[in-house]
């Protein structure tokens, strides 16, 4: 947790800066509105954390979010009665995509970068085919309440946060960190590496499904809803001090990283700086954070643990 402290300092500084620019932010309603907007990215970052800590990437979450929203809208088509079955289906799709990502990466030994990049293309192509290029249908009010109502989205965010912390405290969490740190050592000491990684991808898929439900609720049907989210999630995790390549970092810091990123975007928006700059900011953050990890090496007093997968 100590490693995570800087991100909280940055987050606090950004929150203060937002409050200075916009005093409404200090009121409960103003702050909760921010939490509501940040919730999908925080949840995605939590999911992405599990994959990254185990030494992999998940680039498919953005298009998975789009698929979930577009599919939900088309199946519900404004019919309130269809809400719950479709919600269940959305969750199942998320789990399934995660399972396929995990299985292909571990069992077929395809690098996760390629697996999930492929999945991203497959999903966006499939959704294009199915919809003919533009979303159809409409989400029901009961579906939208999760993302639109501040209380609901805050509660869901809290639940996801608590669950993520509990998972990392459980045996499975330690298994995952060990896998990402040094796969061979973990395997030799009895960790079922393959199973751990597949589960990490499944969790990421589930997180994308939940984020899709929140995002669809927030703003309604859109074919662009998930665009670029995979990079935002990875940026958030890296910003939280989690090491790309796995083995180090806390899930709380990853989620704080997502809040920080969202706070940064809000601040840019408040000062009237165009949204185009968001990508530039993300790019700088990723490079800076990873560079920080590399610069550290010569100064290390103790040899780094688990460099096997980095060197290979």
């Amino acid at each position: 947790m100590k490693r995570a402290l800087p991100i909280f300092a940055v987050l606090a500084a950004l929150l203060v800066a937002i409050a200075v620019a916009n005093p409404f932010f200090l009121e409960p309603a103003g702050f909760l509105a921010f939490v509501k907007r940040a919730a999908p990215l925080v949840i995605l970052a939590a999911g992405q954390y599990f994959v990254i800590i185990s030494g992999e990437f998940d680039l498919s979450v953005g298009s998975l979010v789009t698929v979930e929203v577009v599919v939900a809208a088309r199946l519900i088509d404004g019919d309130e009665a269809a809400t719950w079955p479709v919600l269940a289906l959305v969750i199942v799709i998320g789990l399934l995509v995660g399972l396929v990502n995990g299985a292909v990466t571990t069992l077929l030994r395809v690098p996760s970068f390629i697996t999930t990049l492929g999945m991203m293309l497959v999903l966006s192509g499939a959704v294009f085919l199915w919809t003919g290029g533009a979303p159809r249908g409409a989400l029901s009010q009961a579906f939208r309440v999760f993302g639109r109502d501040t209380l609901w989205s805050t509660l869901i965010l809290l639940a996801v946060g608590v669950a993520a912390v509990l998972i990392m405290r459980a045996n499975f969490g330690r298994t995952l960190v060990a896998t990402g740190d040094n796969e061979r050592a973990a395997a030799l000491s009895g960790v079922r590496v393959t199973r751990a990684r597949i589960l990490a991808f499944v969790i990421s898929g589930l997180a994308a499904a939940v984020a899709g439900i929140l995002l669809g609720g927030f703003a309604g049907v859109s074919a662009q809803v998930g665009q670029g989210l995979e990079f935002s999630a990875i940026t958030a995790v890296v910003l939280g001090g989690v090491v790309l390549g796995g083995g180090r970092g806390s899930v709380v810091a990853a989620m704080a990283g997502a809040l920080t990123l969202e706070a940064l975007f809000t601040l840019l928006n408040l000062y009237g700086i165009s949204g185009a700059l968001e990508f530039t900011v993300q790019g700088v953050i990723i490079i800076a954070a990873v560079a920080a990890g590399a610069v550290r090496l010569p100064f290390s007093l103790t040899p780094r643990k688990g460099d096997a997968h980095v060197a290979s």
Binding site: R37, A219, L267, Y271, G272, I273, S274, G275, T280, A292
Partner: protein, 407 residues
């Protein structure tokens, strides 16, 4: 612990970067985010109205012509606006006459990647089905790619088509391909234009200036002097959207309204909602929202609802979700349109050409706007939320199911 220091340095770097952004906003925005002349709100020190520089796409003569056209009465059957034309200059087509029917029509489509194009594409297919003399209809979808459309057009000119309909993906890039096709068969262009007058006819509604001015004039009328208006645009650099904004800018510049921001939404509902929420937080209230396209109008309205403040005067489009919201909440709103019924006209034009009948060289279709008075005429609760009301498809076979509606 050794790792903490460099990490802190990196974070400080990030923080510095953020600080640099915030302390230097006009320069940053002008240089990085909005290279086109139609700059965003923050690069607008030069303009008192807060609307920035005029777009480089702005052509005064076209602007004047379009604004004047709005008041003119179109010729042709009043109940079939897709057959009407404003100020038509007829040209002879006898050289293309092909008697005996059995026509093979071909269509190179830019894309079907948004609800507007989907509604239009269905109407075009239904129009083709109406005419027995069309025995074959070949359509290729360029999927929004210029290079694919160039090869599509080349392919279609070699397929024995009697006439070619083109809906260009972009104006300049497709011009040579259309020119090449003109030499082989009669070409009909609609929606976006090309930079050549070789097509037999070019069909589109009045245009972007009229669209943009319709919305802006409504706000000037409804919002009290000094009121704060937020302008939302999809993206810069596309002529049909630039003209909408430049006409609105011209209107706002002449008014007492204060344009507090001009933002790009990428057509994304979530982003639109966030931008509107941020402006509401920053300015306390907004008195009007102008949009260059209405697809995200409902998201903008929801931002006001979720903030618990009354929805101000808004500009939308003829999509059903917006019309429904308008009716339900009794909004102060207007919906300029870019009617999808223009997808029927090229088929009608092609048949006229093949029969040797005169057609207008520039076929300008009427471009009505939806107001509180005629809202009920266009609101169709049985149609899907993303359906465009001005499809002119109500009388076509298969309506409403083909367009996703319920009987």
């Amino acid at each position: 612990m050794s790792r903490r220091k460099p990490f802190l340095v990196a974070l400080a770097g990030v923080a510095l970067f953020a600080a640099a952004c915030t302390s230097d906003k006009p320069a940053t925005t002008a240089n990085q985010a909005a290279p086109s002349a139609a700059a965003s709100s923050s690069a607008t020190a030069s303009s008192a109205a807060g609307t920035g520089e005029q777009s480089k796409f702005f052509v005064q003569a076209d602007y004047d012509a379009q604004l004047a056209m709005r008041a003119k009465t179109a010729q042709g059957p009043a109940d079939k606006p897709w057959e009407q034309a404003i100020d038509p200059q007829m040209v002879s087509t006898s050289e293309y006459k092909k008697s005996g029917g059995g026509y093979h029509l071909c269509f190179s489509n830019a894309a079907v990647n948004n609800p507007w194009r989907q509604v239009g594409w269905k109407s075009m297919q239904a129009e083709v089905a109406l005419h027995k003399e069309i025995t074959k209809f070949t359509a290729l979808d360029a999927e929004g790619k210029d290079d694919k459309q160039i090869s599509d057009i080349a392919e279609l000119t070699g397929k024995g088509c009697d006439a070619l309909i083109v809906s260009p993906n972009t104006t300049a890039t497709l011009t040579p391909a259309v020119k090449a096709a003109c030499g082989k068969l009669p070409v009909i262009v609609f929606d976006r234009g090309v930079e050549t007058d070789c097509p037999v006819t070019f069909i589109n509604p009045i245009g972007g200036y009229a669209f943009g001015a319709d919305g802006a004039e409504f706000l000037v009328e409804k919002v009290p002097a000094g009121g704060k208006v937020l302008a939302l645009r999809i993206l810069p650099g596309v002529d049909v959207l630039e003209t909408r904004w430049s006409a609105a800018k011209a209107t706002f510049d002449k008014s007492q309204l204060q344009v507090v921001g001009v933002e790009f939404t990428d057509g994304d509902a979530a982003k639109t909602k966030s931008i509107v929420s941020d402006y509401l937080a920053r300015h306390g209230k907004l008195d009007g929202v102008w949009m260059d396209a209405g697809a995200t109008a409902v998201a903008a309205i929801e931002a006001f609802e979720d903030a618990g403040v009354p929805v101000p005067a808004v500009v939308g489009e003829d999509q059903q979700d917006f019309l429904q919201k308008w009716k339900q909440n009794n909004l102060t709103a207007v919906a300029p349109t870019y009617p999808t019924y223009q997808w029927r006209t090229p088929v009608i034009a092609a048949l006229k050409i093949l029969k040797g009948e005169e057609v207008p060289k520039t076929w300008k279709l009427p471009q009505p706007k939806i107001t509180a008075e005629n809202l009920d005429t266009y609101l169709q609760p049985n149609m899907p939320p993303l359906h465009y009301a001005l499809c002119g498809c109500e009388s076509l076979p298969g309506f409403p199911e083909t367009w996703g509606g319920k009987k």
